[in-house]
């Protein structure tokens, strides 16, 4: 087996999408001044709801929509605590992670009456999209074509978010809220509405990330199947400085590392060290980048309350 062959890159691209989607969602929250540690929980909620939707409707489209909806509901709960009830967002985010882990495992028992994992062979996964022209090109075609629609949506979301932030009026105001909430309020900008908007959008993006996880490769749900991807997304968001293009870049890096560590298992090399790489790279990067995206809200989070 080659170390870096084509399938390595295709698998990297596939692995990127949940991280990228969730990191973009996290960036939206960060941009309105809410540091969202609950991405892990939101993805998990999306993954579970998508399976539920799939099982009951039999339609992949409905499944994805239900996945997004499930994640949005949890996200709104987070918003309620962090915005309306003024809870410390970091604490609320941690709570969301726990809550969703409990709720989904509980749901497995209550809805499907299974423990650990749920799989039904009648469930249909996400289709593979073959892109007409590109498909035909050698190498590139293999690399870029034949992924699930959510993979394309993830990259599209990055571009759209960039346009939103830097070309539209609403995006401009979103940035303003994150930079100086008091000033935004004094101008009469609807700060709370923008914050909830970001929370909902973050829910949708994380829901899609979850759907990609549970419907993308194997159509099944396992307890805690996010396995820290939410935190990786958080790290990708910080490394990308909450800038959509930066996040696409950092997610690519993480996807590659992820794929690399899986690939290295076949080479009898300790995978732990390759798995460590993204985290170490991020730590090193933090020496050089003074994170502007998350800076303002973190400085206010000094104490435990």
């Amino acid at each position: 087996m080659e170390l870096l062959d084509l399938s390595f890159f295709t698998s990297a691209i596939r692995m990127i999408s949940p991280i990228l989607l969730a990191a973009l969602g996290g960036a939206l929250c960060a941009r309105v001044g809410i540091f969202n540690v609950g991405l892990e929980g939101l993805i998990l909620a999306g993954a579970f709801s998508a399976i539920v939707g799939n099982y009951y409707s039999g339609s992949v489209l409905v499944a994805v929509l239900v996945g997004a909806l499930g994640s949005v509901l949890v996200s709104l709960l987070f918003g309620l605590a962090a915005i309306r009830l003024k809870a410390n967002p970091i604490v609320a985010g941690i709570a969301i992670n726990f809550l969703v882990l409990g709720l989904t495992t509980f749901g497995l028992r209550a809805i499907f009456d299974v423990k650990g994992a749920f799989y039904d062979k009648n469930m249909e996964g996400l289709p593979k999209l073959d892109i007409p022209v590109i498909e035909g090109i050698p190498v590139v075609g293999k690399l870029l074509s034949g992924h699930s629609p959510l993979v394309y949506i993830a990259f599209l979301a990055g571009i759209l978010l960039y346009i939103f932030f830097y070309r539209t009026v609403t995006g401009f105001r979103v940035l303003a809220v994150g930079k100086n909430e008091a000033a935004a309020r004094s101008l009469g900008l609807k700060v709370t509405v923008l914050q909830y908007g970001a929370i909902v959008a973050c829910g949708i993006l994380c829901g899609l990330a979850g759907a990609q996880l549970s419907l993308g490769q194997v159509t099944m749900f396992t307890e805690g199947m996010t396995a820290g991807r939410g935190f990786i997304a958080l790290v990708a968001m910080m490394l990308g400085q909450s800038h959509p293009i930066g996040i696409v870049g950092s997610s690519l890096l993480f996807g590659l590392m992820d794929a690399l560590s899986i690939r290295l298992q076949g080479f009898s090399m300790p995978t732990q060290f390759t798995a460590m790489l993204p985290y170490i790279i991020t730590i090193i990067a933090m020496f050089f980048l003074k994170d502007r995206g998350a800076d303002s809200q973190l400085s206010g989070q000094q104490s435990s309350r």
Binding site: L77, A81, L85, K86, A87, N88, I90, V91, A92, I94, A95, I96, N97, F98, L99, V100, L101, G102, L103, T105, F106, R109, A110, K115, G228, F231, L234, V235, M238, P270, Q272, F273, A275, M276, Y279, I280, T282, I283, M286, F287, K290, D291, A294, L298, Q301, Q302, S303, S304, R305
Partner: protein, 358 residues
């Protein structure tokens, strides 16, 4: 008069956590009714599972032991005003170092045990100190760096016990160290019960920390740093020193949490044995619930442990799944820092403060 005011203050400070507990239990009740069980009966079974007889009480206390220690470690950091999210990594490194020290330090059982305790404390403390140093020296945000260092620590420990120090004697090659010599074990408190000496260590530490924070100048410096670092610096407190010390002890105690688990109940380091039960996160919740008061943290840790052991009992005896516990916990924490009850009252008061004449 003074006593009455103190009492009032105490009650007021309890309103918030109690409301959160209530909301948590209510959510649990809803979940229980969804699976079609009787709420009261289920909660009764849960209570019995945690405190029903002496055996269950000791099991709860045994589970609480690492949680208390983690919570105490975090409470120090929180008091000093830093959000240490790295308890998991600090605990795991502490545990693996303790296991290796107990295995490879020559000498009698007691020497092995002591060197394991020291190694566990140092490993956790130094790992935590690294994050503190990066914060003070290079302004690398501690909240993020500790989170990242968790992964590095857990993976590194995983590497140690899956390659160089793996116990290959078992039939299934699990990622774990060899078993520690029995002479180096922390003694059980009661014959046949799971609670061990680590629990006593945790409680004593809680009391000591309470006294230090409340009555000594070192504690005063830590608290003032947490309240307002500028004020602390202005008053002549060495900000960097206090922060680094706090981080060292914070991580050291987290390392100790891993150490007592290894010496008192696992007798070896097994990969995942500390991370899967989520001790670190539960300890974080205990510290948050108690607003970083060491004694309160110990109480909250025991409560959370009881919730978990109770849920296990519930799962054994009813159809209700175990995960109710994490649902309740999640809701509890979600609302613990929320300004629910006194929201309205506080806003009014604040307005008055701003405009009140001197």
């Amino acid at each position: 008069m003074n006593l009455q005011r103190k009492l009032q203050q105490l009650l007021r400070s309890l309103v918030q956590p109690l409301t959160a507990v209530l909301i948590g239990l209510l959510t649990g009740a809803v979940a229980i009714s969804i699976v079609g069980a009787s709420v009261l009966e289920t909660y009764k079974v849960m209570w019995d599972g945690a405190f029903g007889n002496f055996y269950f009480v000791t099991a709860t206390l045994a589970r609480a032991t690492p949680i208390i220690l983690i919570g105490l470690g975090l409470a120090i950091a929180f008091r000093a005003g830093v959000f240490n999210m790295g308890a998991e990594g600090q605990m795991v490194l502490g545990a693996v170092s303790a296991a290796l020290a107990a295995l490879y330090v020559p000498g009698s059982g007691i020497i092995k045990m002591l060197s394991a305790l020291v190694a566990g404390f140092l490993a956790g403390g130094l790992w935590s100190l690294l994050a503190g140093w990066m914060e003070t020296r290079f302004k690398v945000q501690l909240l993020i760096s500790t989170l990242l260092l968790n992964y590095v620590a857990v993976l590194f420990a995983g590497y140690l016990v899956s390659s160089p120090f793996q116990d290959k004697s078992g039939s299934a090659a699990l990622a774990q160290t060899h078993m520690i010599d029995q002479a180096a074990w922390l003694p059980k408190l009661f014959q046949g019960m799971s609670v061990h000496m680590g629990f006593v260590i945790a409680i004593v530490l809680a009391i000591i920390l309470y006294i230090i924070l409340r009555f000594t100048s070192a504690g005063y410096e830590v608290r003032m740093l947490g309240y307002n670092p500028f004020f602390a610096e202005y008053g002549g407190i060495n900000k960097i020193k206090v922060l680094l010390f706090s981080m060292f002890f914070s991580g050291g105690i987290a390392g100790l949490a891993g150490t007592v688990e290894v010496l008192g109940s696992q007798y070896r380091y097994v990969e995942g044995s500390l991370t899967v039960p989520g001790y670190a996160w539960t300890g974080l919740m205990a510290a948050l619930l108690a607003n970083s008061n060491p004694l309160g943290t110990a109480v909250a840790a025991i409560m959370l442990a009881a919730l978990q052991t109770g849920a296990m009992g519930m799962e054994r005896n009813t159809e209700v799944p175990l995960e109710i516990a994490s649902v309740i916990q999640g809701v509890l924490i979600l609302f613990v820092t929320a300004k629910i009850t006194m929201n309205w009252w506080k806003v009014k008061k604040k307005a008055g403060d701003i405009h009140g004449a001197a």
